[in-house]
């Protein structure tokens, strides 16, 4: 199979139909239309299905490993899998059938290896969701469990295009570039049971369940998924409030300090924290940010994000500066 992401072809190779079918719901939006002319070298992604007795014992205990030559590997035992990336060799994913059936695995297959392959100066995988209205995207940022997936789907039900619920590739693009862009990695969402009920998606058949009992849903058959969009706003998701969620503007440095923590664990394993800091700073310099308290009024949540995107896109068009230090939060 040939996929493409941010202009780079990804050559996916496996002898196992089962393994390919397992990862397909997460990445099938990257397969078509056929890859356009490329910006960089192709990434080779080799997938091997191991037998049930296979355990990654020979690779050492579960954890993350730096490999000579700039590579790295993530070893997991429950269920057993190894994903690795080596510059020049590409991505290797080895797993037993048990792993290919696991919810986390199917939601974000080889996410750390993909992050390592795709990240570099000016381009990083961030721990964020993203949705877009008319090609203008908001990054949905927050710590794990705060409600990124629920917000992303609430927005998608309110008419937004879906780009991701947890991990997205961000291209900061320099001051003379086309502007920050977000690229979709996975067309899946992980939802808690209460969010499944609130969103009214109980009829959707999950493709898996995570150890935290989140249902993994394939999005593409149900809602609009797009591959890339211009980033116009950062939305820092805050704990729930009662009543209508009201966005509050944030200073750039404040936004940067809130975006960094959730993405550092990804960057520390797959690339350079300095490059992550540079990408987040470039983003915060160019894109206005808001703090948005969450609400179970999901219609209001979708409306609030749409309002932020509309205002941010208008502000960027008019080149209005963001609030400076000391501005009321």
């Amino acid at each position: 199979m040939i996929a493409s992401l941010a202009g780079r072809p990804i050559l996916i190779d496996s002898a196992s139909r089962f393994a390919l079918d397992a990862i397909l719901p997460a990445i099938d939006h990257l397969l078509d239309p056929p890859p356009a002319p490329t910006e960089g070298d192709a990434i080779r992604w080799s997938i091997a299905e191991e037998d049930d007795a296979w355990r990654p014992d020979a690779f050492g205990p579960a954890g993350t490993y730096r490999i000579g030559g700039g590579g790295f590997a993530v070893v997991q035992n429950e269920p057993p899998s190894v994903e690795s990336f080596l510059p020049g060799s590409g991505i290797t994913l080895r797993a037993a059938r048990e792993a290919f059936m696991a919810g986390d695995f199917r939601a974000h297959p080889a996410s750390f290896a993909l992050a390592a392959a795709l990240s570099g100066p000016g381009r990083q995988v961030l721990h964020a969701g993203a949705v877009a209205h008319d090609g203008a995207a908001a990054l949905l940022v927050g710590v794990g469990g705060v409600g990124k997936s629920t917000t992303a789907l609430a927005c998608a039900f309110a008419g937004a295009d879906f780009l991701g619920d947890d991990l997205v590739l961000v291209d900061a693009a320099g001051p003379d570039g086309p502007g920050p862009t977000v690229h979709s990695l996975f067309a899946t969402a992980k939802l808690n049971p209460d969010s499944v009920l609130a969103l009214g998606v109980t009829g959707w058949t999950p493709i898996g369940t995570t150890p935290k009992n989140k249902a993994v849903l394939a999005i593409r058959d149900r809602l609009s998924v797009i591959r890339s969009a211009a980033i116009v706003a950062l939305v820092l998701l805050a704990p729930p409030v009662t009543g209508r969620p009201r966005p509050q503007p944030l200073r750039a440095a404040e936004a940067m300090s809130l975006v960094m923590p959730s993405s550092i664990p990804v960057a520390c394993r797959t690339g350079s924290p300095a490059e992550l800091l540079a990408v987040v700073a470039a983003l915060a310099r160019r894109v206005p940010a808001w703090r948005l308290p969450l609400s179970w009024d999901l219609d209001a949540l979708g409306t609030a994000v749409r309002g932020i995107v509309t205002e941010a896109a208008d502000r960027l068009r008019r080149d209005v500066p963001r609030p400076g230090p000391g501005a009321a939060a």
Binding site: T64, Y65, I67, A253, M256, L277, G324
Partner: protein
């Protein structure tokens, strides 16, 4: 006070936006936000201004207490390994910071929640001689 200081950029990459500076400690995973005059002092040191000259100028503009607070702040950055002594002579005409109208005490806000996460799931180095997949014996 040290004659000349430079940022320890290898351990503490930094970015400044709108007069606010954020640093990341690559060893511990801590995020550090320089508040108040912290970013002014940081940019002055980055421009090659000597610490003594910086504090003297702050004292002349904002008073003796401001100079003392700034000197103590720079000492704190040195103690934390964020600034290190440099043997390089300061530029003959180092760029001076753009001074705000009022002095606000410099400080450091630390965010260490990520440091705890990284400490729980550290990244292992593989053995330099045998290579992957053998974990370095002293790193397990």
């Amino acid at each position: 006070m040290h004659d000349c200081l430079v940022a320890n950029s290898a351990r503490f990459p930094d970015q400044t936006i709108d007069d606010e500076t954020l640093l990341f400690d690559a060893e511990t995973g801590q995020l550090l936000l320089l508040t108040g005059f912290g970013s002014i002092l940081w940019s002055g040191i980055g421009a090659g201004v000597r610490p003594t000259a910086l504090c003297e100028e702050i004292g002349r503009r904002f008073g003796a207490d401001a100079a003392v607070a700034s000197g103590a702040f720079l000492d704190d950055l040195v103690a934390a390994g964020i600034l290190v002594a440099s043997q390089e002579p300061a530029p003959a005409e180092a760029a001076t910071p753009l001074w705000p109208e009022q002095f606000t005490a410099p400080g450091i806000e630390r965010y260490d929640d990520i440091a705890k996460i990284i400490a729980m799931d550290p990244i292992h180095d593989v053995d330099a001689t045998t290579g992957w997949p053998r974990v370095a014996a002293d790193k397990t």
